[in-house]
């Protein structure tokens, strides 16, 4: 390309322009990647500062609510700070046989410990509020983990001036920031105990369970019995209205073991939608519709496989954000659709007089039974 200014060699401005272009060429050849690195680092730095604000806000909310609801004379700040740094040390998986039970045990220990500590630090909170406070602490902890990990890669990338280290973390940032923002949105819901999108499955179960006698079949998990279209339906959900997911895996295996002749297990859960899909849409499938670390899913699959019981899943689609913030109108409509769909599936897939197990999976905060 022949730039007009470059031809004006007699013009002093032309000479300067020439020099500037030449200098810029060298700068980009020699320091091009360095400049790219600086730009990428700025992006990560910005995300990091936002993560710090989010972490601090979640921490502040946890402390404030422990004080407000717990009414303890002790200051919970120290406890919250210690909790933020708690780590879950996963079991070794080199010999994977039986690792599910190790996970299960460790998760149980963690839950009990946090529960006891919340009880001690917030004596005035009722059971539901204790669960919600636990959830709030968990949100702050996850945000703190995000912050610490991003900070690690930021500082490490900066120290080593490793472009590839930084672009890798930069690539993951949109996803991480979206999740972090969703979690920050959850703080408000956990503070007041609003039912959240993730509780869609639990709410479907509650629709069938309401007004029936319930009993606890597993830790924080209740069972109720009802009749739908001439079929006996055993309904399982986590015990509300505190924010817990219960132990649906333990409940299902206990029920399958105890009650003979269960013809179908039907699970309802909230699922993440893909971009472009509508919130509140219903998806159906075969298999155990349940998320989480996998221990509960494993137990359900084990129990169902042993007795050769078919597993059907109904999934209510939503975004990450919607899963942890109060149920929206679209999801509420999806829940009513799912209730209808459960009735239809039971009619289509089972015979009159059959015994059906319906499991509503999800965080039951703000949803009783």
């Amino acid at each position: 390309m022949q730039l007009p200014a470059l031809q004006q060699q007699d013009n002093p401005i032309g000479i300067i322009m020439n020099l500037v272009f030449l200098a810029m060429f060298f700068v980009f050849v020699v320091w091009g990647q360095r400049i790219q690195l600086t730009i990428s680092l700025r992006d990560v730095e910005y995300a990091l500062s936002r993560l710090k604000i989010m972490r601090d806000e979640a921490r502040r909310a946890a402390v404030e609510n422990l004080k407000r609801i717990g009414k303890s004379d002790k200051d919970p700040t120290y406890y919250v700070d210690r909790y933020l740094e708690y780590v879950f040390i996963p079991p070794v998986t080199m010999d994977p046989a039986g690792v599910v039970w190790k996970y299960d045990h460790l998760i149980g220990v963690t839950e009990d410990r946090v529960k006891d500590e919340v009880k001690a630090i917030a004596p005035a909170a009722n059971e539901a509020q204790q669960f919600n406070l636990q959830n709030l602490l968990e949100v702050a902890q996850v945000l703190n983990t995000y912050y610490r990990v991003i900070r690690h890669y930021y500082i490490f990338g900066k120290k080593t001036a490793s472009y590839f280290m930084i672009i890798q973390i930069q690539m993951l940032l949109p996803q991480i920031m979206r999740e972090a923002e969703a979690l920050l949105g959850a703080v408000h819901a956990f503070t007041y105990g609003h039912p959240i999108g993730d509780g869609a499955g639990a709410l479907v179960a509650a629709r069938f369970m309401h007004g029936r006698e319930t009993k606890e079949v597993a830790k924080d998990t209740v069972l109720g019995e009802t009749d739908i279209e001439g079929r006996r339906v055993l309904v399982v959900k986590s015990k509300g209205p505190g924010g817990t997911v219960g132990r649906p895996g333990d409940a299902v295996s206990a029920i399958i073991k105890k009650r003979r002749g269960i013809s179908t297990v039907l699970m309802v859960d909230a699922g993440l939608k893909l971009e472009g899909e509508k919130s509140g849409e219903i998806f159906e499938g075969i298999g155990a519709a349940i998320g989480g670390i996998g221990t509960e899913k494993f137990k359900i699959e084990e129990a169902a496989t042993k007795k050769k019981v078919p597993l059907y899943g109904i999934i209510i689609k939503m975004s990450t954000q919607e899963a942890v913030t109060p149920i929206t109108k679209e999801i509420a409509e999806g829940i009513e659709l799912a209730v209808q769909r459960v009735k239809e599936v039971i009619k289509e897939r089972t015979k009159i007089g059959d015994l059906v197990l319906l499991v509503g999976v999800g965080n039951t905060m703000g949803i009783g039974q």
């Binding site: 007009p4 710090k52 604000i53 408000h188 949803i367």
Partner: protein, 135 residues
């Protein structure tokens, strides 16, 4: 975040932006002046071009920084509770109160005078999040 390790870079960045702004504005001025008088329009056009794009880049960068530092916004939805009376089946929608939960009990029905409290059948966010609070 005043004592950031990257603050040297940030001030350098702003300095470069400032220089770019002044140079671009100067180029644009020269270009416009020469366009009116000079017999060689291609050179003055070149100055105008450089000047305008320089200005555009600078203003865009400033706008980007400005929008980034505007602060974090969280969206707080308005949550409502729907209650249904057990005897007259009238539905009442009101703002969510702490302690409300689906299939919990609310206050007494106002229209039929039944003594039993109403049952909460739904709790949901009424509108898509719209109220924004800045942290």
């Amino acid at each position: 975040m005043a004592k950031q390790p990257g603050s040297v870079f940030v001030s350098l960045y702003f300095m470069v932006l400032g220089i770019l702004l002044v140079v671009s504005a100067g180029m644009l001025a020269i270009g416009v002046r020469e366009l009116a008088s000079s017999s060689d329009p291609s050179q003055s056009m070149f100055y105008v071009l450089i000047g305008t794009s320089g200005l555009a880049i600078t203003l865009y960068s400033i706008w980007q920084i400005q929008s980034k530092t505007k602060g974090l916004k969280i969206q707080v939805a308005k949550v409502v509770t729907v209650l249904e009376c057990g005897s007259c089946h009238k539905k009442v929608t009101r703002n969510f109160k702490e302690g409300d939960y689906v299939y919990g009990t609310g206050e007494k029905c106002g229209s039929c005078g039944s003594d039993a409290p109403m049952t909460i059948t739904d709790v949901f966010a009424e509108k898509p999040p719209q109220k924004k609070t800045t942290l």
